[in-house]
């Protein structure tokens, strides 16, 4: 029997894959080898000029990359810790369990840009309610205008927005754990802390790795929060790679150069996330 016609069934998926993944990547690579900008639109060929500029004459890109690394690692760690704690809480039999499960998901259901506008209003240093409340204690942090504090403001908003995602994944993981190890631990008289350290946490390791990697991929694209909250400022203190690429590409219209940055960034992210996944697997799944 000839089964060659089975390949026809692959075509719809293949077309989609080519249309939304392969073609854009190839186009970005080609674009990165051109000088396309506002005054010279078109796919001319300028060789590796954009890449040479990026690697030899653009410290701002690398600064924004290291800033992004700090922001994404910090936010994901915090989201993991808080998300795990919340998931653990509603995993147990507590009152209003269902209510809390839904409540914790609310931030994720809101539109990021709109929520960031609201956060910006909260943190507004002269009109916002946060400093109004804090003024009772005689403090008025410069949430958006101090280069150091502004980074933490971005972290607060990101953690608030995306911890529910981590919570959801980890709660699903907790609900799928087998009951036997917990029964065995209970029979052995293990305390709740020991039960968490020696049973829950190791069993959750594979899910934790998946959740952390997914969130790291998402966090490494931090853009809307920065765009709305600080526009990368004060100075360049909250400028991330994606925001910098956005400025170069869609503000200054240096399409060719922005493409070279995007492609470089993609390669760096693939390599670094692969390494992080391997390290996490080695550390968390050592047994």
């Amino acid at each position: 029997m000839n089964f060659k016609h089975k390949y026809f069934f692959l075509f719809p998926g293949l077309f989609v894959l080519i249309g939304i993944l392969i073609f854009p990547i190839i186009f970005v690579v080609r674009l990165s080898l051109s000088g396309w900008n506002s005054y010279n639109p078109g796919l001319d060929y300028i060789g590796f000029e954009n890449y040479i500029r990026l690697f030899t004459d653009d410290p701002r890109f690398w600064e924004s990359f290291f800033r992004l690394s700090f922001l994404s690692v910090t936010t994901v760690i915090l989201q993991y810790v808080i998300g795990f704690a919340l998931a653990h809480m509603v995993w147990k039999d507590i009152k209003f369990k269902r209510f809390f499960r839904v409540l914790f998901l609310v931030p994720m259901m809101t539109t990021p840009v709109i929520m960031t506008v609201i956060w910006r209003t909260f943190f507004h240093e002269s009109l916002g309610p946060v400093n109004d409340l804090l003024s009772v204690f005689g403090v008025a942090p410069k949430w958006l205008t101090d280069p150091v504090i502004a980074k933490f403001t971005v972290i607060i908003v990101e953690v608030w927005q995306w911890t529910p995602f981590m919570f959801l994944l980890l709660l699903a993981g907790l609900l799928s754990l087998p009951k036997e190890p917990f029964l065995a631990a209970a029979i052995d008289g293990a305390s709740p802390v020991r039960k968490f350290i020696y049973v829950t946490f190791p069993l959750m390791a594979p899910i934790s790795i998946g959740a952390i990697i997914i969130r790291l991929i998402e966090a490494s694209k931090i853009m809307d929060t920065v765009y709305v909250l600080t526009s990368g400022g004060p100075g360049t203190s909250t400028e991330t790679s994606s925001f910098y690429i956005f400025i170069k590409g869609l503000r200054e219209f240096q399409m060719g150069y922005a493409a070279s940055m995007s492609f470089t960034y993609l390669i760096i992210m693939i390599i670094s996330l692969t390494i992080i996944a391997k390290v996490l697997t080695k550390v968390l799944l050592k047994e």
Binding site: G35, N37, S38, Y39, N40, P41, D57, R60, H124, E125, S126, L127, G128, N131, A140, K142, W143, L144, T145, P147, T230, S231, G232, G233, P234, G235, T236, S237, I247, L250, R251, E252, F253, Q254
Partner: protein
């Protein structure tokens, strides 16, 4: 002749409401203050057009600034002509790319595109020139010379005038003109309290009136509200502070660059002095003021939070609206000057007073060359800025429509239609009029890749404001970036385009 024409149009605009108010203002309450005003694109004339079955697509700014009047006039245009008008609202930062991406791809998803007047060099090849019949209309003849220049490129108009912008000083008249405050200020500082003539005076007064309740409303007030947020038009605020120190009427040939060599002037001592002042200003803005965008600035000054502000008209108009707590308590004046000005030819300071108006870029709108409904598109724009709509729009601060016609400088418009105090209306119109007459003006940079240049200024100056770099270091970085951009774009291309702007600055166009 021109004076007669202006007087005639002004008289028509002031006295015509009596004859037309009943007919059109019932249907369109927006123009209830004046009724229809006769003209080529009046309500009366537009009602005779028939665009049934045709669709006009417009990309404009988000509501309210410019987005609201666009949508309002679109709705009116639909009712009058039978056309269907689809309005898309886009954030300010994305207006350029939203039009540029399809332009470069050879498409015209929008017939009418709103943007800023300094886009003109990049956009002009994709826009249709304004047809002669509109150029010859009495309304167009009423547009000021400087705004004809801003909307045109080398004599060809690509952007239909709907707005006129310049930066000027706004101050709290109830404080600056208050004899008790003047006495107190004199006693405490030894200086006169008056409308600041220089940026140094501005800083002294702003510092003095910072962080205490000087208007007795139970809340603290501050010295100055300024656009300092990175990438939120802050570069324009920096240029406003720079013109006094760096636009020397005795050294024609370029404010931003030396036209002959195309060497950037941006890091010369004049600009550095301005940035040093600006860094100092971070001490007398409201809490969070270094993150203020234009909207925050309007809200802050318009809401009575600060003594001073400078930039576009909007903050002043917002302060003078009926619902403002400080209506008729504000004044308008030219941008402060400086006691010395940099001479880039002799490389030295000239110790004499200098002041220069900044005719900043503002809202601009064009019709796509590839649009299939160009006639309707131009009719819409002509209707947008007809006498009745324009006067009604001027009165609403959030609309972002500001004076650009000679007839707009008649104080009676503001006194009669908007309830302004005559003294304030006079100071406002006189301030704007003096800018039109000045021979030492700066116009916006309008060269290929303008966004690269202004973005570099925003990044550099924001680093200085955040304390990441000293003013000199920051502007050296900007100058280096500008040189790299000139080299990428091509020295000749930038030089040729810049020459047009320099002609305007040197009063040769």
């Amino acid at each position: 002749m021109k004076t007669c024409l202006t007087a005639l149009i002004s008289s028509l605009m002031i006295f015509s409401p009596m004859a037309y108010a009943d007919k059109w203002s019932d249907q369109f309450p927006h123009i209830k203050a004046t009724g229809d005003i006769p003209g080529d694109c009046s309500y009366e004339k537009m009602s005779k057009k028939n665009y049934k079955g045709k669709t006009l697509k417009i990309n404009t700014h988000a509501i309210p600034v410019m987005g609201e009047p666009t949508a309002l006039h679109a709705e009116q245009f639909e009712k009058l002509t039978g056309a269907k008008v689809e309005v898309t609202h886009t954030p300010a930062g994305d207006l350029y790319s939203k039009a540029m991406v399809p332009f470069q791809a050879g498409q015209a998803p929008y017939d009418v595109v709103f943007g800023f007047s300094n886009f003109i060099n990049d956009w002009k090849r994709y826009l249709a020139p304004v047809p002669k019949k509109y150029m010859n209309s009495p309304e167009m003849k009423d547009v000021t010379k400087s705004h004809m220049g801003v909307s045109s490129w080398d004599g060809t108009m690509y952007q239909y005038p709907v707005d006129g912008d310049r930066h000027y000083l706004k101050y709290r008249k109830d404080v600056i003109d208050n004899p008790e405050m003047q006495k107190k200020y004199k006693a405490d500082t030894g200086n006169e309290l008056r409308v600041p003539r220089t940026w140094k005076e501005y800083a002294q007064m702003a510092k003095y009136f910072n962080d205490w309740d000087w208007d007795g409303d139970g809340e603290k007030e501050y010295g100055s509200a300024e656009v300092m947020k990175k990438d939120d038009l802050m570069f324009a605020a920096f240029f406003s502070r720079s013109v006094a120190y760096a636009k020397n009427p005795r050294t024609p040939g370029g404010f931003f660059f030396d036209l002959e060599t195309m060497k950037p002037n941006i890091n010369n001592p004049g600009f550095v002095e301005a940035l040093t002042d600006w860094v100092e200003a971070t001490k007398y803005v409201p809490p969070g003021g270094t993150n203020f965008g234009l909207g925050d600035e309007i809200g802050s000054f318009g809401g009575g939070q600060t003594l001073f502000s400078f930039s576009w008209d909007d903050a002043f108009i917002a302060a003078m609206q009926d619902d403002s707590p400080i209506k008729n308590k504000v004044g308008a004046a030219p941008l402060p000057g400086a006691d010395r000005v940099w001479n880039r030819v002799t490389n030295s300071w000239e110790n004499q007073y200098n002041q220069a108006p900044y005719i900043v870029w503002g809202w601009a709108v064009g019709v796509a060359k590839k649009s299939k409904v160009k006639d309707m598109a131009f009719d819409y724009l002509c209707f947008f800025s007809n006498g009745a709509n324009h006067q009604a729009d001027l009165a609403i601060g959030r609309f972002g429509v500001n004076p650009f016609k000679n007839s707009d400088f008649d104080p009676n418009i503001y006194i009669n239609s908007m309830g302004w105090d005559p003294e304030i209306a006079n100071s406002y119109t006189q301030t704007l009029l003096d800018m039109e007459k000045s021979n030492n003006r700066v116009f916006p940079l309008r060269v290929p890749g303008v966004f690269e240049f202004t973005s570099a200024v925003a990044t550099g100056t924001s680093k200085a404001l955040a304390g990441q770099l000293s003013p000199q270091e920051a502007l050296d970085e900007v100058a280096k970036e500008w040189e790299a951009i000139v080299s990428r774009v091509g020295k000749k291309a930038v030089q040729d385009a810049y020459a047009v702007g320099v002609k305007m600055e040197d009063n040769k166009l």
